[in-house]
């Protein structure tokens, strides 16, 4: 089992954190994990993405060229990565920011109004948490409890922890 995920979107959407949540969840479940961000000043105001691998064997290559899961938070990222997803893979689309539909029919697609949901829950900035919830549901390598545990661990003692949980649940229960 090796899950190769690319998360992509604008800088400031919490893309890199989204990837880290997966990694922490994977660790909690005793998986081997890697997280590799795009980096450098070209990120300034531009796009951000990260590659996450969760595996039951040591991760050989942290660099993903063909993800089996793609989580996209804006249109340019979808344009860039859509064609790279493996046949039979999964694409989670933030439909609040991406108007178009996926053109492939050999992948599973979920459209998620992550921003709307987050806003409704009163925490506009947790669209990425909503996506994380959806990932745990559909991406399926970590259990819901483990994932939630790992996530809440990151927000331990911080205010707004409660709305984080709500956002996660909302994403998971879509």
């Amino acid at each position: 089992m090796e899950s190769k995920i690319i998360c992509a979107g604008f800088g400031g959407q919490g893309i890199l954190s989204l990837g880290k949540f997966m990694v922490y969840a994977g660790m909690e479940q005793n998986l081997e994990v890697t997280w590799l961000p795009s980096y450098g000043p070209e990120m300034r105001g531009g796009t951000a993405n990260c590659s996450v691998v969760l595996s039951d064997k040591p991760v050989a290559s942290p660099l993903i060229t063909k993800p089996n899961i793609l989580i996209v938070m804006n249109t340019p990222s979808l344009d860039k990565f859509e064609s790279k997803v493996e046949k039979g893979g999964l694409i989670l689309v933030n439909s609040d920011l991406i108007e178009r539909k996926i053109s492939r029919d050999d992948v599973t697609v979920k459209y998620i109004s992550a921003n709307t949901i987050a806003l409704e829950l009163g925490s506009a900035r947790s669209a990425n948490i909503v996506m994380f919830g959806a990932y745990v549901k559909y991406g399926g390598v970590v259990s819901k409890d483990t994932a939630l545990d790992a996530l809440m661990h990151q927000f331990e003692g911080k205010k707004g922890a409660d709305s984080i949980k709500k956002a996660f649940e909302a994403g998971y229960n879509l």
């Binding site: 604008f10 400031g12 105001g45 804006n74």
Partner: protein, 65 residues
């Protein structure tokens, strides 16, 4: 014509808002393709074409005639 705003170029930094002596610039609610909320002129009539906004704008978004 007075002040003119190039919607796609604005990065929403708000500097022009602080610079305008007439207080007629304010941050808008609409964002452009870059994801930035773009400044608006709320009362073009009042503009005295002093160009204070244009001079402070780092991105040459504003044209003043």
């Amino acid at each position: 014509m007075k002040v003119q705003i190039d919607f796609e170029k604005c990065k929403g930094c708000g500097l022009c808002v602080t610079a305008c002596p007439k207080k007629i610039l304010k941050m808008g609610a609409k964002s452009n393709k870059g994801g930035y909320f773009v400044v608006e002129c709320i009362d073009k009539e009042q503009c005295i074409a002093c160009a204070a906004c244009a001079y402070i704008c780092p991105d040459s978004v504003l044209e003043v005639r």
